[in-house]
């Protein structure tokens, strides 16, 4: 067994409330409880960004929590998947346009799965997490693919032009 297999069988989730109303947060907590039992997918709620694979974010991003959100995202190791839970996290919801709100989390970090609803139901969260698992697997594969530079250098005006050699992998670097 290698690391990728473990990651597929037991993705760890990290939960951050970026300024929401607690509604979606208690539904995430309900997902961990025996009735919905998200642990059957091998998931466990962890507090450490450096050990987690899936980031669950709720709430519109407030001015004071935006730096923390970006910091937590940056601390998570690749491959990682971000799920935005609820209407506020996806678009800003009812809080859109309030003076201390920045709107949805996708303005700060890339989001892979959007879960709708105010508040989200546990079934929807589980559905979103299962979709995130597929994305996580895809990202893992993409990460493990070896990078090869297939282009050859061009002969221009008696000199070798190597400027475009890395064009194929440039999107991966940004």
């Amino acid at each position: 067994m290698n690391l990728a297999a473990y990651r597929k069988k037991s993705p760890w989730i990290l939960h951050y409330n970026a300024g929401g109303c607690n509604g979606c947060d208690i539904e995430i907590l309900a997902c961990l409880s025996p009735k919905y039992d998200i642990e059957r997918f091998g998931m466990i709620n962890t507090g450490n960004p450096k050990q987690s694979d899936i980031l669950l974010v709720t709430g519109p991003v407030t001015k004071r929590s935006r730096e923390r959100l970006v910091e937590i995202y940056a601390q998570m190791p690749e491959p990682k998947v971000v799920i935005s839970c609820g209407a506020c996290a996806s678009t800003g919801g009812v809080f859109r346009g309030m003076y201390n709100c920045e709107g949805g989390i996708d303005q700060f970090i890339p989001v892979d799965v959007y879960v709708c609803g105010c508040g989200t139901r546990p079934e929807q969260i589980i559905d979103g997490v299962v979709q995130a698992l597929a994305i996580l697997e895809k990202k893992t594969k993409a990460l493990e693919e070896p990078v090869q530079l297939k282009r050859a250098a061009k002969q221009e005006e008696g000199q070798l032009n190597r400027r475009e050699l890395a064009d194929d992998i440039k999107p991966l670097l940004t």
């Binding site: 001015k63 004071r64 003076y99 201390n100």
Partner: protein, 113 residues
Amino acid sequence: MKKIETTLEHLRKDIAAFYNPGLHHFMVMNAVETGEQMEVQWFFADYAHPCETTCFYALTGREDEVPSIKDIVLSAWVAEAELVDLMNIKVENTAKGFVLEPDFESGPLLKKK
């Protein structure tokens, strides 16, 4: 609701005479714009039944410094710090930045002219 008028000079004396921790509890501070002036309000509620809500209010100018009641009512610092940021009122010995980020324009709850 029982409203008692007071002034900034007499505020500390009035509240010290009124406030008895065994009978009342302090709830919150509030400010309302009334034209050019601000009406600053201090809310207290009784423990007993039937319960009466008492409101002390004082009219102040926008630049006046409101005296602090932190030493009379020990939990008032939270309400004072909030009002400083949200309504842009100067309160004695209270710094900005408890509610809003330091780079933010203070007084977001004030009506825009």
